[in-house]
Symmetry: C2
Subunit: 329 residues, 2 copies
DNA sequence: TTGTATGCGTTATCAG
DNA sequence: CTGATAACGCATACAA
């Protein structure tokens, strides 16, 4: 019988079962225990409704069965998807997730890494933007989309291949003059390679292209100006656009509508990420799809395999093309 | 100097500062401590890079500064939004979140509640569907959208008022024959009142309406049949639809397109939830917007105020109408 | 005000 | 194979 209202402990179970405390621990942890002892203990556990106290275990073993996920937010649907699949993978393996939102704040990225260590998490998965971020060496750490060093595994999709694929697709669909549009930080990370792949393919195939990259601080209206500059007699000189993310693609398409340019009749548009409306229905735009499920699986299995000596330092996963109404066909 | 590689403990700090262990604890917890002692301790803390170990504190205080959030997933954008705002509110208050995905699995809902207790979380916020769920009395518990009993606070938006608002809006926009469409469980919960509010308003205003509710197991195609049955000479007899969720509204609109019914010219559609594309851009459909931010704030402040004796048992927050392209104007 | 000592629930190390 | 017991890092009641 537990004393008062507080939850029963191993000592209570031991008393109830008439065995030693250590024996209870062994049963709970599935270690070798004599059959009749095991049964007595299990009966007592059921009797008292005992469940082990993770705080005690955490203190003793210095591990919490928890992984910290550091990510800007969960409003952006790509991040939501990532959070979802990573948490599912963790749940499968009986791990918990400690979710940390940075809102793109560089100081919070640092803070959360410290906080994660203080909370004795068993590892960290991080999607960050701070160019000066220092990755601790004494805790399993996996990054998404950013390569720091060979000792910090990075998981990303094949951004270069995706850019290449977009160019090839536009060409196949009959485009003869294209542009790549992107917005974003000056930070060099894996997604930066989307442009590189696109450019490489265009050069190789002899497909004309222009680049329009908005740096931090420049207003969105710069895109409007850029597009206007390429309109003659109400006709856009581009017939194919590859855009850094689906989100930006969608905004650009709104812009084109306002300018009376039809998509995909006048210009075909391919985005990047693979965002679906309501998370699981149609693709919002034609797009290069990131394999989020596989990315999540790779992150989790990598961060949990600290002891496995040989972890690749860059895990690159294949992308695919999906039709979303903004290309022909 | 810490022994070996493991993180410094309070004992290390005490030794370094030449004070007692208890004094370090008091400094760390911001209690009254003599000025020169405080300074010595803080210097030692900086010196060693000490951060307190939350496992030790958790074991000692039997509290973890963690709240469990039980929710189906984070793919559905409404859930993503909820997770986002709840986590933000928790971060503000220096609490962590333990995220639990049920995927609508009733047994997992139960499991997670037990697991949360085992992990000594300080409270639970839950959005569940299991009709037989038993809410533990010995832990602060807040539910979203479902009322269990006066002792379990429930946070929800004004679903009845939202239904009423939808009817009024459709009437204002000139509709003369309407229908309410919904899909979903047989479970009675707060969102069930969307229909009630709609019906009440229609009756009061003398606006004709029909109800079409899909029960569990019925295929989506039932909606197609329902709509077909109401088409004569290619013309839909309804000119206004109120639909249980934005997600369903969007699917219905796809259906209408296939049937060559134009939205909003032939029929105006209002959904419920307030989902925006990419989480923060345009509304996907015209809709009754749930005040997610306020819901999150209410959940968190309620679950954290266990000691405050008087918590209302139902917190009902006001909704608003937003134009999203599927109504006139 | 500061120091000392105990115990939170668990795992792990020893003896038996 | 089992029982007893010592940590783990911290907060706190009590003694100084």
């Amino acid at each position: 019988m537990a004393k008062g209202k507080s939850a029963p402990t191993m000592a209570d179970v031991a008393r109830e079962a008439g065995v030693a405390l250590g024996t209870v621990s062994r049963v709970v942890n599935g270690e070798q225990v004599g059959e009749e002892y095991r049964e007595k203990v299990q009966a007592a556990i059921r009797q008292l409704g005992y469940r082990y106290n993770s705080s005690g275990r955490a203190l003793r073993t210095d591990s919490t069965n928890t992984i910290a996920l550091i990510i800007p937010n969960t409003i952006n649907p790509y991040f939501s998807l990532l959070v979802h699949h990573i948490n599912c993978e963790l749940e499968k393996r009986n791990y918990k997730m400690m979710l940390c939102f940075t809102e793109y704040d560089r100081s919070r990225e640092i803070e959360f890494i410290q906080m994660a260590q203080q909370n004795r998490v068993d590892g960290v998965i991080a999607l960050t933007y701070n160019p000066n971020l220092v990755i601790p060496e004494d805790i399993p750490f996996v990054t998404i989309d950013r390569f720091f060093s060979v000792s910090v595994p990075c998981v990303a999709s094949d951004n270069f291949g995706g850019g290449w694929m977009a160019a090839k697709k536009l060409k196949e669909l009959g485009c003869t003059n294209t542009a790549f549009l992107r917005i974003g930080s000056t930070l060099t990370h894996e997604p930066s390679k989307r442009k590189d792949g696109f450019v490489s393919a265009c050069v190789e195939m002899g497909l004309p292209f222009e680049i329009m990259a908005l740096e931090d601080g420049q207003p969105f209206s710069e895109f409007e100006r850029f597009l206007s500059d390429h309109i003659k007699d109400g006709k856009l000189s581009f017939d194919g656009l590859f855009i850094g993310t689906d989100s930006l693609a969608w905004r650009i398409i709104q812009l084109l509508k306002k300018m009376n340019i039809r998509v995909p009749e006048d210009v075909q548009v391919i985005g990047f990420d693979g965002i679906r409306i309501f998370g699981d229905q149609d693709y919002v735009v034609s797009t290069i799809v990131q394999p989020v499920q596989e990315i999540a699986e790779a992150c989790v299995s990598t961060v949990l395999s600290r002891h496995l000596s040989s972890v690749p330092s860059l895990i690159c996963l294949p992308v695919s093309y999906a039709y979303g109404g903004t290309t022909k066909e």
